[in-house]
Assembly symmetry: C2
């Protein structure tokens, strides 16, 4: 191990208390974007922490909750951008928390608080890395930029405008996305992208109000028609039936190879899914392919007619379904929506309303051979002392295309939470050892960024 | 016109006030079986009215709300049974009533009150006929029996036991069912049966709770599976796909002929249905065939996942649907349920729970050439001065099989409500002219019953 790297890791372990107390300061400020509670305080502390580690900071108006920006601009040869968020999910149900969600509590080597894993732990680890590198190396051999937004948990409604209007400020050679996770065998999981998302509501109606169900013999039943329409879009496993969806699937062999080589623990998928669709049972590769490289149509909700206790013989006058489509690269949200509409028209369901809910965005993906993917992966291997698992994409979605497509940056996900971090749930927590290794990882990334991006060499390891 | 018939009709018109005030007395007592409100009073007044017209009466315990029985047993050669009910639907929404639902109000030649059409108007008209015949003819040339139950609007849960345990009391040569209607061209509609009913709830589940919707790539989605299962049972028009359903359809030419000859007004179907399925548009015969002779699967309700405002990316853990199946003769409820279960198992949906809600019963039908059908139809023609429309069945269902199958009686529907009677809705009403003609019709039926049933002749017309 390089002497500087050894010193770095020793120093990080010695400064555990400083790093943990910094995280706790941010965790004490709620920042619930769904309600607005504590947003002001959480954004202020975020900026304070950025100031503390020596960034030039700025609060950016977005039209919604502010974003906090920080940077060190000293090194001409390379810039890395960190995308994170200071807002959190609501803490309900409160009664299930063993310690209050906004009074961070350290127990069994973990910090418990709302946001510990998603995403304040990742944000503060990255900020602490700036300080750690400067302390050990004397200077920061890379420009760093931090963007911490306050609306991620409500779908980043103002991020598209923010990114488009602040292109110069956010300019960088690469972007490290908010988070990924560490698997049950302590291997850091590096994901090379996210899926895109389109959220649709389909509404089928009949003229007139609810009728006695005996009219079902001759009268249009919107529930039947809605089901008929949905069955044109996908099969019962959620696999799209529309040619326009499937022609945009790109099973690039170099991404498939990642899945082949991942040695992923099938049990993690099985336990996550609760109950697997038949085609992936016992087949970890097929499961990972669907999770990371295949589009999926999911029914989030459906409702029609009488759904109370017992029986009521009624012919409903309306039926609706909420459906999300997880997109893979090359699928465009506009085309997806138009394909659905066209398929419904062709199938005789042109009267069914198809409306988009929330923001839609395409997928984003960075090639495994890109220097930044290499840099993140190889530094992770040093920091976590395990061969990382590299996946084509996270199974989830995010507006990463703003960074890859709009700003033209390679973008990769890495982070410090676990399957048992319980994000979005009571007793959210972060293991302190993971947190420290996360600081180590990002420090190594900063140290090696310019040589790896420019010459493909990794001096500090 | 026979002199006695002329006197009868004159007498009925003269006694309008007596007949209307009798109806109003019953309408003043609510008798809402869904809540139990006023059941005691309504059953008491029902018995009082039976006493008043000279029946021997009896209140029958059912285990639920009581049934009221009344009879005249003088004539050895024939007995006609009248099945009615004194209970009503709840009056909500109250604010839409122009006069209070249980303060009967006479306006524009109609009586407005909950139950005026369904079913108190029919019940009281039939009772008044006993008196009218006796007054005009001096005696009742037929035995009559009345069964007025108090649980029809909640699905007659205790009627099967009541009928089975009171076979001797209810013995008769024929039964006139609670009601039918008069069409927009003032023609009485005589129906020769009712459809059967099976009400099912299907529940699809996944192990584990709700998940983030990105798991839809590999995890079972109960909403998709429920839709897949339902699509095995019927098409989007509600036509069964199961061979076991369709092999029991009986398109008996003599019933089809009724449809051919009915000269039914298509507009009535169109307006009733709100919006017609494509295959019956412009085709009154096909519409009537489906309404009266074809089984139909109707989705009464369906629910899964998130159905609130806006978007939520969730993979639901459960989905359920409430479905009614309208049966035609030869279809047996037990076979229908078993066919559904078998089809789901064969289609890979054996884990979807299929449970029966409420009581199920088969259809019932009486042949058009049966003497009782002839008697009801021909007397209706005299009373309403229009050629009646005879249909194979009502589109709705009812436990008529108890009378046709269990008691072995031919059973026919006739009555005095209209499309605009608004039963089950605010401002329910009955036209007084229809009410008087209903008394006339049933009086003629009583006068002609024995000669028509025994010798096929109709002396009083």
């Amino acid at each position: 191990m390089h002497e500087l790297v050894e010193r770095l890791w020793r120093r990080i372990k010695e400064d555990e208390e400083v790093y943990v107390s910094r995280l706790k300061r941010l965790l004490e400020k709620s920042g619930v974007s769904a309600t607005g509670e504590g947003i002001e305080e959480a954004s202020s502390v975020t900026r304070e922490l950025m100031d503390e580690v020596g960034l030039r900071t700025e609060t950016l108006s977005t039209g919604g909750y502010p974003a906090v920006f920080g940077e060190v601009r000293e090194e001409r040869h390379g810039t890395v951008l960190f995308y994170n968020h200071y807002d959190v999910q609501p803490p309900d149900p409160l009664e299930l928390w063993e310690s209050p969600p906004f009074s961070p509590s350290v127990r069994t080597g973990r910090v418990f608080a709302r946001g510990a894993a998603d995403n304040k732990g990742n944000l503060v680890a990255r900020l602490c890395a700036v300080e750690a590198v400067r302390e050990v190396a004397g200077e920061l051999p890379v420009n760093v930029k931090f963007l911490a937004e306050g609306e991620e948990e409500i779908g980043s409604p103002n991020l598209p405008n923010l990114v488009r209007s602040h292109g110069y400020l956010l300019e960088a050679d690469a972007c490290l996305w908010e988070m990924s996770y560490i698997d049950d065998r302590d291997r850091p999981v590096i994901a090379l992208g996210v899926k895109g998302l389109v959220y649709l509501e389909l509404v089928a109606r009949r003229r007139g109000g609810d009728l006695h169900s005996s009219w079902g013999a001759v009268s249009v039943n919107p529930a039947w028609r809605l089901m008929g329409a949905l069955s044109l879009i996908a099969d019962v496993a959620g696999s799209p039936k529309l040619a326009e969806f499937n022609e945009d699937i790109d099973l690039d062999p170099k991404f498939l190879k990642l899945i082949e080589e991942s040695d992923y623990d099938f049990r993690e998928i099985e336990e996550g899914a609760g109950e697997l669709i038949p085609t992936v049972r016992g087949d970890v590769r097929e499961a990972l392919k669907r999770l990371t490289m295949m589009p999926v149509v999911n029914v989030c909700g459906i409702h029609s007619g009488y759904t109370g206790k017992g029986s009521k013989t009624v012919l409903p006058s309306e039926a609706f379904a909420k459906v999300d489509v997880r997109l893979v690269p090359r699928m465009r949200p506009e085309k997806v929506i138009e394909s659905v509409r066209r398929a419904l028209r062709a199938g005789g369901y042109g009267d069914i309303e198809v409306r988009q809910l929330g923001g839609s965005y395409p997928a984003a993906r960075t090639a495994p051979e890109s220097p930044f993917a290499e840099a993140v992966t190889r530094t992770a291997k040093v920091a976590f002392e395990k061969e990382p698992v590299v996946l084509p994409s996270m199974q989830g979605s995010g507006p990463m295309y703003l960074f890859t497509e709009v700003l033209g940056q390679p973008c990769v996900l890495a982070g410090v939470s676990r399957r048992d971090s319980k994000y979005h749930a009571p007793n959210e927590n972060l293991r302190i050892d993971d947190y420290l290794r996360g600081i180590f990882h990002v420090s190594l990334l900063m140290l090696n960024f310019v040589p790896m991006m420019r010459w493909g060499v990794m001096p500090y390891r």
